[in-house]
Symmetry: C2
Subunit: 138 residues, 2 copies
DNA sequence: GATTCAAATGCAACAATGATGCAAACTTAG
DNA sequence: CTAAGTTTGCATCATTGTTGCATTTGAATC
């Protein structure tokens, strides 16, 4: 799967900004911040263009935002279009990486009487395997 | 429990802005937006003062932020200081109220190997009892 | 390959949110 | 009441994101 394919599937024009963003996101399995992405782009697009590209990709559910502690915003590419139920996100308190936990099943949550559930957002904060090893060795 | 008591417990000086914010938050069992609170304050404090008061109250864990859809920010007062495990939040897609679901037990989530959990943030979006009734009657 | 038209881009301007330094006002302990 | 340390309000600045508009680009058609 390449960036062009993703754009074609969604009937979006192939522009260098969109293509660049998708390429970067496809090449990693982590969520990236806006700046991570901007810095990796080969050309320095105008702020407006960049935001508009993001908006378009979000609207087409190609990428999704994740907010941690109401501050750090990370973006991740959506692996499957059939991912209706959503998925949990993991944030490492030490190295600050963010990962989509596609494999973690979303649990049923018991709501008080009268409440009806549509969607759940779950963010798990903790220590990632890499940081855990580091801390155990010392 | 009055605003002054809350401030005393946390060793914070009693200032009218802090007192006003806490009083408003104590008088409701919903999460409020920054504007909800500002509009209910008797005096129009400077933007800086307002932000700084919020920051102080957040730092002392008197109130906490909740973000919905990366846009709507609501604040709620922390009922108990011993609320270490956190709690889930409910957002009504129809009337946009936000409530802290203190009664909903935080479930254990099965993480992939090597990941260690510290905290979980859970936001449940759906329909609140009031809106559910409205929609059933029509 | 040239033509065409809608869509995307870059720029200027603007709005909202939030931070900082500083003088004045306030809180509270003595 | 007074003194010392906080907090406030103001001016200013930075960041983030939006909008309108002229220009450029993508891609469908010839």
């Amino acid at each position: 799967m390449k960036a062009i394919d993703v754009l074609n599937i969604h009937n979006l024009k192939r522009t260098s900004c969109r293509e660049g963003i998708i390429d970067i996101m496809l090449s990693t399995n982590q969520a990236l911040s806006e700046n991570d992405i901007r810095n990796q782009l080969s050309y320095n697009f105008d702020r407006t263009t960049f935001y508009r590209s993001f908006k378009t990709l979000e609207e087409h559910k190609i990428i999704h935002k994740i907010i941690i502690d109401n501050q750090i915003i990370k973006y991740a590419i959506d692996k499957s279009i059939t991912d209706k139920k959503g998925h949990a996100h993991f944030f490492c308190n030490h190295c600050h990486i963010v990962k989509c936990l596609d494999s973690v099943p979303m649990q049923e949550i018991q709501l008080p009487d009268g409440y009806a559930e549509d969607e759940i957002d779950i963010l798990i904060k903790g220590t990632c395997p890499t940081c855990k090893k580091k801390y155990c060795n010392h």
